[in-house]
Amino acid sequence: MDWLDQELKLALERKEPSPDFAARVIRRAARGPAHHVQRWLAAAAAVVVMTSAGLSYRHHQGEVAKDQVMLAFKITAVKVNHIQTHVKGAVR
């Protein structure tokens, strides 16, 4: 038997688990699903918070853009009207 066979034998030989292994597995299995639900709830809450924050930021950006457009056209309207008044006054 060469050294490789020896190494393989050592690596693959049966080892008994610790005496409390079965108890630990049962304990973990018992509380596992509850932990999963909590984790999913936390992830879902994070997604909802992030989505609503993104949507409200986008809405805010839209309102700011709308206000700017309205102001731009208000200034334009005032100036165009002013020019029209002058022109009409000159024609009369």
Partner: protein, 188 residues
């Protein structure tokens, strides 16, 4: 290094000119102004803003109709406390850029009594209106507007009657009243 810096500056200028149809070069007036408005809205921002405009509101409905074919709107407006804070050279810098075959001045108003000047330029390309420039100057106020895109001049002319501005027919009866330019502050 200098070449890179030059290229970067040229790139910035080109990008700005792509958006605006001429450069305003009025930033130096901001420090002297008592009140200033600087609005730069490109096409995508205008179309985004259009989604927030309420069609039931007459002013907003009018603006929504106007911005449908626009690629941008750029406004710089300054109000000064005293006369002489802006110079003719500031306006001339802009006029120089509008003395090209694409631009034509359709209205020019000058009142020596009030010291007011107002001009409207239209940019035509292949028989279509592709931009409008408005220069309006009073002794203590200077406003420059560039509307980029297919501007409906008729709609632009009928903006009076909106934003609390009396329609021109109403003004006839009102006699010589204060210019609507003075109303800007009250509407803010």
């Amino acid at each position: 290094m200098n070449l890179l810096r030059g290229l970067a500056v040229a790139g910035c200028c080109a990008a700005l000119l792509c958006a605006q149809q001429f450069t305003f070069n009025l930033d130096h007036l901001a420090a002297k102004a008592s009140d200033s408005v600087d609005i730069s809205l490109n096409g995508p921002t205008l179309q985004f803003a259009a989604k927030f405009l309420d069609s039931k509101d007459p002013d907003q409905a009018k603006v929504k109709q106007l911005i449908a074919g626009l690629e941008g709107i750029y406004v710089k407006s300054f109000e000064f406390k005293s006369k002489g804070d802006w110079s003719d050279a500031d306006l001339e810098n802009i006029r120089k850029q509008l003395r090209t075959p694409e631009w034509s001045r359709i209205v020019g108003v000058h009142s020596a009594e009030d010291g007011e000047t107002a001009e409207i330029y239209v940019r035509n390309q292949a028989g279509k209106v592709t931009g409008v420039a408005i220069l309006a100057a009073e002794p203590t106020e200077l406003t420059v507007v560039n509307i980029v895109g297919a501007v409906d001049l008729d709609s632009l002319a009928t903006l009076g009657g909106h934003f609390g501005i009396p329609e021109l027919s109403d003004q006839k009866d009102a006699g010589k009243q204060k210019g609507p330019g003075k109303q800007k502050g009250s509407g803010k």
